[in-house]
Structure formats: C-alpha cells, structure tokens
C-alpha cells in the first residue's frame, strides 16, 4: 500500500471544498451548465441516461480494505447499493445525485480516494498491472513509477486543458496485464545492457473511432529522465494536437499523421531543452516514493501445505484454483483473482455487501489489500496458499468464486445503452446471455483462454477492438446490431481484431458468438492452441465461412 502524506490529503480535501462550492453555485443558478460542465467533468461527474455518474479513481488498481469499505458506504448511502469496476481501474456509481456529490466525495477523501481527472481533457488515472509488486519475475514494482506520474500529473496546470484526454499505463512484467499498447503513453519497465532500470516508451495507442496500437518512440529512457521525457511528449502533443475536431484530437492521430519518426524527432528536440532540468528525478525523490509503499512481512510458509493437498481432491475447488489462483513471488503465497463475472450478472459490478465482505476477507487473508484489474475483476494479492480452501468457501458464499477467470464467460463489457448517454446499443444483456450459454464449466475449460470484449458504441470503453472476440454495438434504422471482430489482443503482442462479416441483429448476436467458438473448436490444431492463435494461423476466412454460410 502507498501511504499518502499531508500534502496529498490537503490537495484532495481542498478539491472537495472547491467542488462543493461549484455545485452550490450550479444549483443556485450562479453557474450555467455550460460553465459547470467542465468543472464537473474534472471531478469525474458525467450525466448519463437516468442520472449523474461518479467515476472514482483507483490509482494503479490498489485499494486498502478500509478504502473498499468506504466505496461500499458510498454505494449504499448515495447510490443504489452497488458499483461498477471499469476497464481503467476506476469504479463508477450510476445513480448519484448532484446535490449529494460533495458529501460523497468528502466521505471518500477521508480515506484518500478522489475522482479528480477521471474525466475531461487532462491526464487520467495512471493504471498499472494489478499484480504489481507480487508477480514473479517483475523488474520492480511499477506502482512506484505510477505514483510518481500520479503526483506529477495531478493538477498539472500545463496539462489540464489538453486537446483531448490522455491515459498512461505501466507494466514491469514480460506479460503485459496493463494493456499498455492501447494507451496514449505506455511504459514498459526493463533493464538495459548496462543493468540500469528504465522504460521502453510507447506512444499513440488507443481504441475508439480510430484504433491504433502504440508505437515505440524510445526503447530506453532512464528512470531519472522519466518525467522530463513524458513532459516533452505532452508538450509536443499540447502544441500540435488538433483542437478543431474532437475525433482527431487524441495523440494517436497526431502520431499517425506525423509518423512516429517525425513525432519522435519533435519530442527529442523538446526534450533536449529540458532533460537535465528541474524534472530530473534524483535518487532521493524516487526513494521517498518507494519508502511510502509498504509490503507485508510475509511469514515463511510451506508452498504445498496439507490444507491445499487435501482440497486438491475436491473438483469444484480445483476448477476454481486452476483459473483464479496465480503464482506469487514469495513461496507459500498466491495471488487470487475474484471473478466479478457471475453467470447472468453484469460484468464488473459488485454490491456494497460484497465490497464489505471482500474487505473483511482482505483483512483476514491478504494483509488488508485488494487490487482492481482492467479486466473488471478484483484480486487479493497476498494470500497464504494454506488459506486457499477457506478463502474459496468464503468467496463462494458471497458469489465471487465463479471459476471462469480468463475463460469465455470472463467478459469485459461497458455499461452500454442501459446506462450510457453515448451508447448506441446494449452491452450488458449480450454479456449476460453469453455467460448463460457458456455456463457449463467443462465446456468453458475445453475452450480455454478466450477473451470476449463488448462495447455499446465506437468509443470502445469495452475495448472490443482488442478482444479475442470483439463485439461492437451499432444502430441501424433504430435497431441494435452488433459488429463482430476476431483476433484482437491487448497483451504484449497487442493486435486489433478483424471484422468477420456484416453486423448481426441483437437476437442473433449470441448465436454468432457460439458459432465462432464452435468453428474454433473444429479448426484448432490441438487442444492447447488458443483461440487467438488459431485465428492468427488461419486468418478470419475459415471463421467467416462457417459463421455466415447459413446467414
């Protein structure tokens, strides 16, 4: 966990007071909606179909049990008893009243949580690997650098009015769980030939209307130079990014139009003017941040305790363990993913009661810490392997032990037309239907790793472009239709999916996905060839033929 200092707390509290005054002036008519809109967006407040929505940041996906309890309190006191975890390590409350928002934010501020810059044309919540600090083989904990960037970008005056929103993601593992290649700036921590720690810097990734995979702009930037180099990128973007057309305003468009070489040259020129200046990080600053992250004092425990050996004979436990339990860097411990994808449930939602129960379980089994992943699941990062059977039972009691992590029913979906004012079609009912179709665990296990991503509009909050199977809701003559792509992926080998054929109506969408999965089972070279690898090997044509032959 990271311990906030007095300055952090003061910044958050001052922002609550400021926003309380802005809300008061809005409700009295002193501020018009045009004047207020930008202010509310900078505090994470959207207006959706039925109500205001508050988006709260969970920087680099790390939560304490007391913070999660407070989120449960906000869900219960100010909303309708649940929250929705998003693809960018945020939580959204969908039914919040503007008049009560300042009180909700004040309650969150007491535990160091805020909604600053979770919307608007500024630098957004800095995201990272949800297994940061506990994943085996990690270069170092990427949250140290995430926190540095969080402090640097929060209320940065030069970057509060960018041409468009701007998102960072950081990973320090070979396997990218933070989807850095679909971010405006992606950072991959690694060591150079001299053994120094630094970053491969990628730029210009993003989905939405015009999707791009990020390109490497610099293979190695030393950690000391991280802020100055990032600032150089942002300055070039701030200067040349298009403000005349919202659809062309993201940095990905600038990088694409200039070309990565020319863009890199512009950044390099900017950087040369500032690289050894005030933004150079000395070791003391980095160490100060590092020292504020506390790690559990892990008691030494056996890697294969008797409790686990005994439970291994229980098939339901083993099914859950196989998909939900990952290796920890410390022997005797494990990382446990909590599926927020129950059969028939909305992906990413958790009730206040579940949040409270997870907090209690985190205190009991995970040193009081919880993580949030971009796949819209939670994780307990420090679980003793001997406690896995007991934890599984406890999770099962609160509906959080669905054994489907990384399987076909572990679907990423945006709120879609059920909530969102931008959406053209519903996402959640499609996801719910698919989880019912693939509810049989043996079938899902046979299919293996398969990521389905659903977005209700081209803004792509459900990351459909990079789903192994991507589903995009569109509107045709007032009816909901869905475009299907296959072959996308969001990891270190990120790719955009390819459209498989004409959009299909709502009533046929789940049938088409079932047909695609059946085609995969028939086409795969061997049982362990993943769906995405079969598509890579064969292309989309064999799938298109099988799926559309009878349509």
């Amino acid at each position: 966990m990271y311990a906030y200092d007095e300055l952090d707390r003061a910044v958050i509290n001052e922002r609550v007071d400021e926003f309380r005054d802005q809300v008061k002036r809005r409700l009295s008519g002193e501020l018009t909606e045009d004047e207020f809109k930008m202010l509310r967006l900078q505090n994470g407040v959207y207006l959706q179909l039925h109500a205001y929505m508050l988006r709260v940041a969970i920087p680099y996906g790390t939560l304490s049990s007391s913070q999660l309890r407070r989120l449960a309190h906000v869900a219960r006191r100010y909303d309708r008893g649940y929250g929705h975890f998003t693809t960018r390590q945020n939580i959204q409350f969908n039914w919040i009243k503007l008049a009560e928002l300042p009180d909700a934010l004040a309650d969150l501020a007491e535990v160091g949580i805020h909604a600053m810059q979770t919307s608007g044309n500024n630098t957004r919540n800095v995201t990272s690997d949800q297994w940061a600090g506990v994943a085996p083989g990690e270069i170092e904990d990427p949250r140290i650098w995430s926190e540095l960037l969080r402090q640097y970008t929060t209320l940065h005056p030069e970057f509060s009015f960018l041409p468009r929103k701007f998102k960072f993601a950081i990973t320090a593992s070979a396997h990218d769980r933070a989807a850095i290649k679909i971010h405006d700036i992606g950072l991959r921590l690694h060591k150079n030939a001299q053994g120094d720690t630094g970053f491969e810097v990628l730029v210009g990734g993003g989905l939405g209307r015009t999707p791009f995979i990020a390109k490497t702009i610099k293979p190695f930037v030393h950690g000391h130079d991280l802020l100055s180099y990032v600032e150089a990128i942002l300055r070039v973007y701030n200067q040349y990014g298009r403000r005349d057309n919202i659809y062309k305003a993201r940095i990905k468009i600038l990088v694409h139009e200039l070309g990565i070489e020319k863009f890199a040259k512009e950044v390099e020129q900017e950087w040369l003017q500032m690289r050894d200046g005030a933004l150079t990080l000395d070791d003391a600053v980095i160490e100060d941040i590092r020292s504020r992250f506390t790690y559990p004092a892990y008691p030494k425990l056996p890697h294969m305790p008797d409790e686990l050996k005994k439970a291994a004979h229980d098939p339901p436990f083993e099914a859950w363990r196989k998909n939900s339990v990952a290796q920890h860097k410390i022997p005797g411990y494990a990382i446990v993913t909590l599926s927020l994808k129950p059969v028939g449930g909305p992906p990413g939602d958790a009730t206040a009661d579940q949040m409270d129960a997870i907090s209690d379980l985190a205190d009991r089994y995970s040193f009081g810490e919880i993580r949030v992943g971009h796949e819209q699941n939670l994780a307990l990062p420090h679980v003793a392997r001997r406690d896995l059977p007991a934890l599984w039972k406890a999770l099962d009691n609160i509906g959080l032990a669905t054994p489907n992590v990384n399987l076909v029913s572990d679907i990423i979906a945006c709120p879609g037309l059920d909530y969102c004012s931008l959406a053209n079609a519903r996402s959640i009912p499609i996801a719910q239907e698919l989880t019912r179709r693939f509810a049989n665990h043996a079938t899902a296990d046979l299919i293996g790793r398969l990521h389905i991503n659903i977005s209700g509009c081209i803004n792509a909050c459900g990351h459909h472009h990079v789903g192994h199977i991507g589903i995009l809701g569109v509107e045709k003559n007032g009816e909901e239709f869905y475009q299907i792509t296959i072959g996308g992926r969001a990891d270190e080998n990120a790719e955009l999916g390819t459209l498989i054929g004409p959009a299909v109506p709502y009533s046929e969408a789940a049938d088409v996905i079932e047909d695609i999965v059946e085609a995969y089972l028939a086409l795969r070279a061997r049982p362990d060839e993943l769906f995405v690898d079969t598509v890579k090997r064969l292309g989309v044509e064999p799938f298109r033929e099988r799926v559309y032959a009878t349509r």
Partner: protein, 105 residues
C-alpha cells in the same frame, strides 16, 4: 438511437417531446405545456412539426437551472391516447435499465 449529443439539426418526422435531466439529481424529465418539467411522459407537451419542436426546445433551454441537456425525442401516440417512448433509448430512460439491478430497488 443515435445519441442526441450527435443531433445536428432539428427535423422531426412524427410526434415528439422535449426531454432533459433534472439538475439536482439527474432524473429524466419532460417539458410540459405549462412551461414546466414533469417526470411523467404522459404530462409532456407534444409537438408534431419541426417548427413546433424548435420552439418548444428554445423555451425549454431557457431554464438552465432546473434542467440539463434538453433535446427532442420521438414518441408514439397510441390509439388510446397514451404516449410511449419512440425508441429503445427513450424506453430505457423512462422505464430504467433492461437488466435486473445487482441490488433490487
């Protein structure tokens, strides 16, 4: 179901209403004949031509304190005289989400 945020011109082809969200809580509201707002679609002022729609919207947006994001939405008038939302988006705004909420209301 194209988002009203993308509405460029006001051109209606059938009966329509002006709808918005109430400022203090975001609730869905409809402009009434009495130049007020109601949460009931049945109390909404009905317009049938583009000129009428423009006029109703113009007098609706004057109330910037009570309502946010006013726009014109299609409705259906049933033989019984009942007013129904004209598309899925408006049905969801009036009746709520099409799924069971994680916590029943």
């Amino acid at each position: 179901m194209t988002s009203p945020l993308e509405q460029k011109k006001i051109r209606i082809t059938g009966p329509s209403v002006v709808t918005a969200n109430r400022t203090w809580d975001g609730a869905v509201i409809y402009r009434t004949d009495g130049q007020d707002w109601s949460v009931k679609l049945s109390e909404a002022a009905i317009v049938r031509t583009s000129d009428e729609a423009r006029a109703l919207l113009a007098q609706s947006v004057v109330d910037d304190v009570g309502a946010v994001g006013a726009y014109i939405a299609p409705v259906e008038i049933k033989d019984s005289g009942n007013i129904k939302p004209g598309n899925l988006r408006e049905r969801i705004r009036l009746h709520g989400v099409t799924i069971d909420l994680p916590v029943p209301a």
